[in-house]
């Protein structure tokens, strides 16, 4: 394969007709750039095109690489796939797309021996989950009682940080504060602004008393940062490797994550592109930096436009039609009045206004459920697929699932609560787990005589697990292919339409596990090193597959059920981030669902904005007459200003 480099001025976006001028500017930027990309602005496409630009022009010069850091695993995967579609294999290999946790963990995994005192590790560590409530309370008691006990972690921290602390200070820290405090402490300087942070450092200190030190991903991030700050050669190696870095979902970046990035890249030649939407910042509870955009601007854009450093705002919305974009603009004016309005890329379809966006008003929940059935059936019959109808709720999906299910089942509509825990993980999370995905691919493969796409994906997974590159390491990959072929022929399900029972599915999954080997599967993703996380994912995969088999008549049907084909998804707004649906139905715009609105109106508005902006063609909201909605009067005022029509459930039912 022989290709010449393209001069930057001649370069054209690949695979798409073009980009809006601001997006093209961000794609071709030579300096640090912060891109505000509202909903549907084509964030992934922008990063994908930028990656292609960097590797096809003399911007990211071989053998240097591009590092793309995402907040979520599926985002990292989406970006990688987008990128692979847009450029050749050799170029795609020079893009490392991973989550923040994976990035921090691989730094610590390979360099932990360089940790300085007092955070030196004597051997490999293990990943632990969040601190549980009993653990926290125990630790709090122990700290309060041992402030002056020499050798106790809390005494050690207080002495080192030269801070006074009373037991009252310690009891004033609640678990939320404790959990969040890791976002604003630093291990290198012992900079500890709060009692909670002092306790958190003491907690890490206590973790160090274990033979194998248990660390949360946040602690791993902080230790990785300490490594970078104490060993400039490791930093030099990262900076030499990555000429360009992408940060996806900048608004959700936590203090720990931002701190690590800042320690590595501030003052380096590496060019950063941060993309996000401050209006969609709804992850405050998970430690998202309260002003990530501001911090990035003051750290990385200080040299200004003359140095190629710029804050660019994209305004085209490729997702929603003009009517919905209009509503989003009203919501936006409230959250970010200074940002330019979104511009719709698609016109409003020629439908009555209430069929594009309306508030469905029902006398009670039964009427609401009946109206929903009619609405969904009409959407389905107009050609919208079930997967493209998103039922969004603020919280408590299980209650809503139970309430709606009888009505839906009667009407033959399959409802899938993406949030339902299937014994270790929610369905939605399970679907993004590399292990569960691999199992699905394998099941798919075993139900086909000729593997096709599934074959290629499984083989690529195998090569990847083995550290090989499909298409390059021909000989060893050919050996893997032979192994896979043997496995396929001895486990081939000749008739995918034969009956299946839960046990059959589990038994086959066992054979797939044995084929790969548990240690190898466990090494697939960094999160699998964490406590019993991997076991839970395996358990959940089995349990859900068994459940699907029990509720289906054939192998083929059970796999379809597992994947959610022809099912209407129900999920929380939080989990809907980054997703899009032809039609969004936001259930329960009332005080019950939105009780926390007043606690943090900014986040409440952002949450509503996220929900509304998932819709491509239609946006419905529901409210029952027997529910209060006083807490949401600001939202209702905005909806009124946007001219959202009311649609009575009676009216819908009459249509049926």
């Amino acid at each position: 394969m022989s290709t010449a480099l393209i001069p930057p001025t001649d370069w054209k976006p690949v695979g798409i007709p073009g980009l809006e001028p601001d997006a093209l500017k961000a794609v071709k930027a030579t300096g640090n750039t912060l891109v505000t990309a509202g909903p549907g602005a084509g964030k992934t496409e922008l990063l994908g095109q930028r990656g292609v630009f960097l590797l096809q022009t003399p911007a990211c010069i071989y053998p240097r690489r591009v590092l793309a850091i995402s907040y979520k695993r599926d985002a990292a995967r989406n970006l990688r796939e987008r990128f692979q579609k847009r450029c050749d294999k050799e170029q795609a290999r020079r893009l490392d797309s991973m989550t923040f946790d994976a990035f921090a963990k691989q730094i610590l995994d390979r360099f932990w021996r360089a940790l300085p005192d007092p955070w030196k590790l004597s051997g490999p560590y293990k990943v632990s989950g969040f601190v549980s409530r009993p653990q926290f309370l125990d630790f709090q008691r122990s700290c309060a009682a041992n402030i002056n006990t020499v050798g106790h972690p809390i005494n050690w921290v207080i002495t080192l940080a030269r801070k006074g602390l009373t037991s009252a200070d310690i009891y004033a820290v609640n678990q939320d504060k404790f959990n969040l405090s890791i976002q604003d402490l630093e291990l290198s300087s012992m900079h500890t602004p709060s009692a909670a942070a002092l306790m958190h450092i003491a907690y890490i200190r206590q973790a160090y008393t274990n033979a194998i030190v248990p660390l949360t991903f946040q602690m791993i991030g902080r230790l990785a940062q300490l490594l970078i700050e104490s060993n400039p050669r490791i930093r030099a190696a990262i900076v030499a490797t990555y000429s360009h870095v992408f940060l996806d979902e900048m608004q959700d970046t936590t203090g720990v994550q931002y701190g690590l990035l800042r320690s590595i890249f501030l003052g380096s030649d590496t060019v950063l592109t941060a993309v996000g939407d401050d209006k969609q910042r709804i992850m405050g509870w998970a430690g998202a930096h309260t002003n990530g955009f501001g911090a990035f601007a003051s750290d990385f854009l200080a040299a200004g436009a003359a140095a190629g450093q710029e804050h660019i705002t994209l305004s085209i919305n490729y997702r929603s039609n003009e009517r919905i974009v209009g509503i989003l603009n009203i919501l936006k004016a409230n959250i970010a009045p200074h940002e330019p309005d979104f511009r719709a890329a698609r016109p409003t379809p020629p439908l009555p206004a209430e069929q594009i966006c309306s508030l469905i008003y029902s006398p009670n929940e039964t009427a609401e459920a009946e109206a929903l059935v009619v609405l969904i059936n009409s959407l389905l019959s107009s050609g919208t697929s079930a997967r493209e109808i998103g039922l969004l709720v603020r919280q408590r999906t299980v209650d809503i699932e139970e309430r709606l299910k009888p009505f839906f089942e009667n009407a033959g509509i399959r409802l899938r609560n993406e949030d339902r825990d299937v014994g270790g993980a929610s369905i939605q999370d399970l679907m993004t787990e590399p292990y569960a995905q691999l199992i699905t691919e394998c099941l798919d493969l075993l139900m086909r005589k000729r593997g096709g796409g599934a074959w290629a994906r499984v083989l690529e997974n195998m090569a990847d697990m083995d550290g090989l590159i499909d298409g390059e390491d021909e000989e060893p990959v050919a050996k893997l292919a032979a192994r896979l072929d043997a496995f396929h022929s001895s486990n081939f399900i000749a008739d995918a339409d034969k009956a299946i029972a839960g046990g059959d599915a589990v038994e086959l999954i066992d054979r797939i596990d044995a084929f790969f080997g548990i240690p190898i599967l466990k090494a697939m993703a960094p999160q699998y090193q964490q406590g019993d996380f991997f076991d839970n994912i395996r358990k959940a995969t089995r349990a859900f597959m068994a459940e699907c088999a029990d509720h289906s008549s054939t192998w083929r049907a059970s796999l379809a059920r597992y994947r959610g084909d022809d099912q209407v998804p129900l999920l929380t707004i939080t989990k809907s981030k980054g997703l899009e649906y032809d039609s969004v139905i936001l259930l329960g715009l009332d005080d019950d669902q939105w009780w926390s609105f007043a606690n943090n109106p900014q986040e409440g508005h952002s949450t509503f904005f996220v929900a509304a902006s998932r819709a491509k063609e239609r946006l419905f909201m529901t409210l029952c007459a027997d529910k209060k909605f006083g807490k949401l009067k600001e939202i209702y005022a905005l909806l009124e200003r946007a001219g959202v029509s009311m649609l009575n459930s009676e009216t819908i039912l009459k249509q049926a």
Partner: protein, 682 residues
């Protein structure tokens, strides 16, 4: 980026004493450290020099053939056959370091990215490095030669990692071919194969040109080719020949009338023309172009190096162009040099005059100054190793009883030791010492001139190419002894007794006794006691008047350790006393010392020669040597210089004269050297 070391288990002569690692490393691998610049491997034939080059080719060779592990790569103990075991395994492991991360050099942007995701650190404040391991297993099987399986891995820990497929991917991961290709070993064999190799290199250059050049006049060239082809075809002679061929062909090939044969002189298309590229040398305005075959052996080997080196330098320069934002007319792939290129030269001295050798080494040294190139040479040539610091030399040796080869750094004094600089300089000035079959350590220039002549006269040919005579001024003898002992070279030392001088006689005994007992303490308790006693000798306690009877036994005592003393003063006096006529012969116009027969004059001269810090001239009073002092002073402390004096005197002497009057200590010394050479030569 540099290779810091290579570790071998069970590869060729780098055998493993224990069966290969199941869980832990066996006893110890054979480890050879590399210098950042050029490392030179020295050692006898069959000591493992070439095997080490082969190991590097297996790891990072350019071609699949160079990289393939074969049957003969597996270590087989002496007296065994390969098939004595059902299975054999081997490991070749390299540690790669990145000094550019310490200096903040931009070169890191070329060298670090390919391996960054597999780099590790072993302790606080250290620089990241990487471990790369090739594992191979040979198994007896139905196939005639058995089956060989090989895998290459990144090792992600500084700890021991078991042999075999990785169970824990956080410790060991497969290395992709793309990553492997970021280090390339360019092997340049001893010149016998150079012609074939050069042709291959030229061919591959043509191939890569076809793939990588962005041709700017392709259409024009193609048109010209077509025209030239048509013109050729229109030549009457060709038409006739083609007709004849076709007549015959169609008669034979009656079944298929579609094909017609045609003699084509010009390759039919552009691609084939480029592939047929060859290199010619235009010697002079009158001569025709020379092909590579027309070059001399030496020129061919130089040319091969040039051919191998120039694409690398060209690619490195293209990299710079690209990083400046320019767009040279080549494909991206072509404009990439490997992160590290290691030139592995086998005996570059073959067929090359020392002058060319030094040019070649200078070129290589310049290249290896950066982080992208490293050099490795095997050599038997002082002209090669003399250009390198002794620290860059590795001595290879084979233990015949186990059949296992080892490689080690030279044992040199610690850098903080004041001896360090002296020893380094002495060795660099006399690189022949590395290859000698015997080493004679002398005091200075006099020994270098006198000893070969005397040996010659005594019918012991002491060729400087295999008997090294290294002047060391009597200093740091133990360091030199240690060095040659490591190299397996027997040695003899000739020192001045310097009787009367401050650093002479008893002081010399003390120094030699200490060196002997430090380095090679005798098993015999009597000898050990004597050596201990020698170290306690004190001039004052010995007292005056001078007692020859006490000195002489010590002089003899040390000869059993190979240490001889020019007795009683030095070699100059010994020669002067032995051959007074030859030495006293005056040059035309010279008048010689004044009143050499005068006793006062003699005493004065002796006092000047011997000083007053030691015994002074006391031991010589009344001896037969006294009349020589004015001449000694005239000849050896004057302007002529010792070498000239000795050369002049020796030219006066016949072999018979030398044989008859040679100082006895030199006779004993030469006969020891002869004995040792004969023993070693067996």
């Amino acid at each position: 980026m540099k290779i810091a070391n290579i570790q071998l288990w069970g590869f060729r002569c780098f055998g493993a004493a224990v069966p290969l690692p199941t869980d832990q490393h066996p006893a110890a691998p054979i480890k050879i450290d590399f210098d950042d610049g050029i490392t030179a491997l020295i050692g006898r034939n069959g000591s493992g020099k070439s095997a080490l080059l082969t190991a590097l080719q297996r790891l990072f060779g350019e071609t699949r053939d160079e990289r393939s592990i074969r049957q003969e790569d597996f270590f087989v103990a002496p007296g065994q056959t390969l098939e004595a075991q059902a299975q054999r395994s081997l490991i070749i492991e390299a540690v790669v370091i990145f000094p550019e991360l310490e200096t903040g050099s931009k070169e890191a942007e070329k060298t670090v990215p390919p391996g960054f995701r597999h780099m590790i650190v072993d302790s606080v404040g250290k620089t990241p490095f990487a471990r790369i391991r090739l594992e191979a297993t040979w198994q007896q099987s139905g196939a005639l030669d058995g089956t060989i399986e090989e895998n290459i891995y990144w090792i992600l820990t500084d700890q021991a990692v078991p042999f075999g497929p990785p169970e824990d991917l956080s410790l060991k991961r497969r290395m992709s071919q793309a990553d492997r290709a970021s280090i390339i070993v360019r092997y340049i064999p001893a010149s016998r194969d150079v012609t074939t190799l050069t042709k291959l290199t030229v061919k591959s250059l043509g191939r890569s040109l076809m793939q990588s050049v962005v041709w700017q006049n392709k259409a024009k060239i193609s048109t010209l080719l077509k025209e030239a082809g048509a013109a050729l075809d229109a030549e009457e002679s060709l038409l006739q020949i083609n007709k004849a061929i076709n007549t015959c062909w169609s008669a034979l090939n009656t079944a298929d009338t579609q094909t017609s044969a045609r003699l084509s002189i010009l390759p039919p298309d552009f691609q084939q023309i480029v592939r047929a590229a060859s290199v010619n040398l235009d010697p002079s305005p009158i001569g025709r172009a020379m092909a590579i075959e027309d070059l001399s052996d030496g020129q061919r080997s130089l040319f091969h190096f040039a051919l191998v080196k120039s694409p690398l330098e060209f690619k490195l320069s293209l990299e710079v162009e690209v990083s400046k934002g320019n767009n040279p007319p080549f494909s991206q792939e072509f404009m990439r040099a490997p992160a590290l290129t290691l030139f592995a030269f086998e005996e570059p001295e073959n067929h090359l005059a020392p002058y060319f050798l030094s040019r070649l080494m200078t070129e290589l040294q310049t290249l290896t100054g950066g982080q992208r190139v490293q050099g490795l040479v095997t050599s038997h040539s002082p002209a090669i190793v003399g250009r390198l610091a002794p620290e860059a030399l590795r001595h290879m040796r084979l233990r015949t009883e186990t059949g296992i080869s080892y490689g080690s750094k030279l044992k040199l004094p610690d850098e903080r030791d004041e001896a360090a600089k002296f020893v380094r300089e002495a060795v660099r000035a006399h690189p022949e010492i590395y290859f000698a079959r015997h080493a004679i350590f002398g005091e200075g220039a006099s020994e270098e001139i006198v000893l070969p002549r005397i040996a010659d006269a005594l019918d012991v040919p002491v060729d400087r190419s295999f008997v090294a005579i290294v002047p060391i001024g009597g200093r740091y003898i133990e360091h030199f002894w240690r060095l040659v002992t490591q190299l397996g070279i027997p040695h003899t030392t000739l020192m001045d007794l310097d009787l009367g001088r401050s650093s002479g006689d008893l002081a010399q005994f003390k120094a030699v006794a200490k060196a002997v007992s430090d380095l090679n303490p005798p098993a015999d308790p009597v000898l050990a006691t004597d050596l201990a006693n020698a170290q306690t000798l004190v001039r004052n306690a010995w007292g005056a008047p001078w007692d020859t009877a006490k000195i002489e036994p010590w002089v003899k005592f040390f000869e059993q350790f190979g240490v001889f003393f020019s007795d009683p003063l030095d070699l100059d006096m010994a020669m002067l006393a032995a051959f007074p006529d030859a030495y006293r012969k005056l040059l035309p116009g010279a008048s010689g010392p004044q009143n050499p027969g005068d006793a006062t004059r003699q005493a004065e001269a002796a006092a000047v020669v011997l000083g007053s810090s030691g015994f002074g001239s006391a031991p010589y009073l009344g001896s037969t040597l006294m009349p020589h002092f004015p001449w000694y002073s005239y000849l050896f402390l004057g302007k002529r210089g010792k070498p000239a004096v000795h050369l002049a005197a020796l030219s006066e002497l016949t072999d018979a004269q030398i044989k008859a009057s040679c100082p006895p200590v030199l006779q004993r010394l030469i006969s020891r050297v002869r004995d040792q050479l004969e023993r070693g030569g067996a």
